[in-house]
Amino acid sequence: MLNIEKISKNFGGLPALSDVSFSVDRGRLTALIGPNGAGKSTLINCITGVLEPNGGTISFENIDIAGQPTHKISRAGISRTFQNLKIFPRLSVLDNVLTGLTCEGGDSMLMAMMRLPYLRHRERRLKLKAMAALDRFQLTDKATWPAGILAYGDKKRVELARATVGSPQLLLLDEPVAGLNGEETAAVGDQLRQLRSSGHTMLLVEHDMELVMEIADKVVVLDSGRCIAVGTPDEVRANPLVLEAYLGRVEATA
């Protein structure tokens, strides 16, 4: 579904990514791991159009999306969550989730200003869809609350609801359990498993090795901008390169 081929990105001559290639398969949960500075965020930014890669192709459903503007990539069916939460604190929880349906809301400002009947119908349909998403994430009773006052774990769920409400083809999750305690991490883990069993394709960027090894179908390991291993969690765990680059470093600092 998503094929990343020989992607390179330099920042002022310094390579952040060099010749990274891997693929994300439909219906699977692919995890992207690597120590700090390995290039995970750069890669996510290249996929979502925030950065333009210096070389290589990113094909999504056989269309090259490298260098396309972010909103086009989003409209092509790639949805994401953010490492440090980007919900809209002043909007209600329901409105936050409704922003996830922006692509279906129509584009024309003039039509919106007339509030024609077909738009009112569409609004009603979108609202039902958003309410269903709130229900999936146990947020129904908080629908009218300003999202800013929610507890951290609830905010994460609002973001997940917003990212999934439009049934995206591919879901990018940027460190979804960062900053959560053990209990909350387990809850997010359950939600990710649920999303996968309902057929979502996901690319998960995560530091939490335990979670990754438990739920990923495929693990991609980055180190210093290179892809050093791709495989099942078991294969990756046994890979000496990974042990050296990733786990070895943990031992050295411990």
Partner: protein
């Protein structure tokens, strides 16, 4: 559902429409109770300002941008209508539409390059735009009349019915203001409006949700310029005389102050902000001398203590308090 529940449900469903209806009725009856032309003139001025502020609030409060240059679009509308009707004898209604269309093109031409800027840079660029416009008004006297102004602008009319006294103008200007209000309310309650709110909240997140951020900013900028232009045309036809002072950078900042006082991202607040700031000089005799000082102080105080704006800030605080209390109850 019993009767009471049915009524409450109807109200909750059509709340916005009901408020607009109540306001319209109030304004329809207002001249029956208030015949003092001076007071009516003041409410007419509020309506003209409100039209500008509605558009500007979409740009500042919803799209999350800043403009210290909307007096220029207001002035383009006023001088455009004046020149078109007096020098070229174009029928005034047609002139309003033509001028608004030209202003839309100008805003598009200016908006595409300068909306690549943001924050302070955008504020400076729009301020500069207004400054240039004001200088042109002063210097190009053969067309604009220079510092002494432009006189002899005709009243608007339908057939032989002239909009030449305060009561007639009241109905004309408030009809346009209410129509603008309705259109803006519709816009912010739509998917496009949510995209704009997302843009104001976080540009990266908005783009990731599929909002074409650059195009949305330009569109809202053009829309706000068109509203300002229409308000300017009405201004010219109401007073029949205009001068550059009505369109300088202090007027531009006053529009921003009206947005801020009313509340960023609050359509109803725009009416309040336009009303309050337009009325202020009436309440304080000494005020005229210190006008800019007082306006500046209001801006600074509101931004310091209620950065979302006076009305929106207060309402938000109440909403949050209520929601926190509910959360507290839910947890215990």
């Amino acid at each position: 559902m019993n009767h009471k529940e049915k009524i409450l449900y109807f109200i909750s469903l059509h709340r916005t429409g009901l408020w607009v209806t109540v306001l319209s009725l109030g304004l329809l009856l207002y001249p029956l109770f208030e015949q003092n032309p001076y007071t009516l003139g003041l409410t007419n001025l509020i309506a003209i300002n409100a039209i500008v502020v509605l558009g500007l609030n979409l740009f500042i409060g919803y799209a999350g941008q800043i403009s210290l240059g909307h007096a220029a679009f207001f002035g383009l509308g006023a001088y455009g209508s004046a020149i078109a009707t007096v020098n070229f004898a174009i029928p005034s209604w047609l002139a309003i539409v033509l001028v608004a269309a030209i202003v839309a093109l100008i805003a598009l031409g200016i908006g595409i390059p300068i909306l690549r800027l943001s924050g302070h840079y955008l504020a400076m660029a729009t301020l500069g735009m207004n400054f240039v416009f004001h200088t042109i008004l002063l210097q190009w006297d053969e067309v604009t009349g220079g510092p002494s102004g432009f006189a002899g602008i005709p009243y608007l009319s339908i057939g032989s019915f002239l909009f030449d006294d305060e009561v007639r103008l009241h109905y004309l200007i408030w009809s346009v203001a209410l129509l603008s209000l309705l259109l803006c309310l519709n816009l912010v309650r739509s998917g496009v409006g949510r995209g704009m709110a997302a843009l104001a909240g976080d540009e990266v997140a908005a783009a990731a949700l599929g909002v074409n951020t650059r195009r949305t900013k330009v569109k809202v900028f053009v829309l706000s310029a068109v509203l300002a232009s229409i308000a300017g045309s009405l201004f010219a036809h109401t007073y029949t005389f205009i001068s550059p002072d009505s369109f300088d950078i202090f007027v531009a900042t006053d529009f921003v102050i009206m947005v801020v006082v009313g509340g960023m991202g609050s359509i109803w607040g725009s009416l309040f902000g336009a009303g309050l700031i337009s009325m202020l000089p009436e309440w304080m005799d000494l005020f005229e001398t210190y006008k800019d000082f007082v306006h500046g102080a209001i801006l600074v105080l509101v931004l310091m203590f209620l950065p979302q704006g006076l009305v929106t800030g207060l309402i938000d605080n109440i909403k949050i308090k209520l929601a926190l209390r509910r959360r507290h109850h839910a947890e215990h």
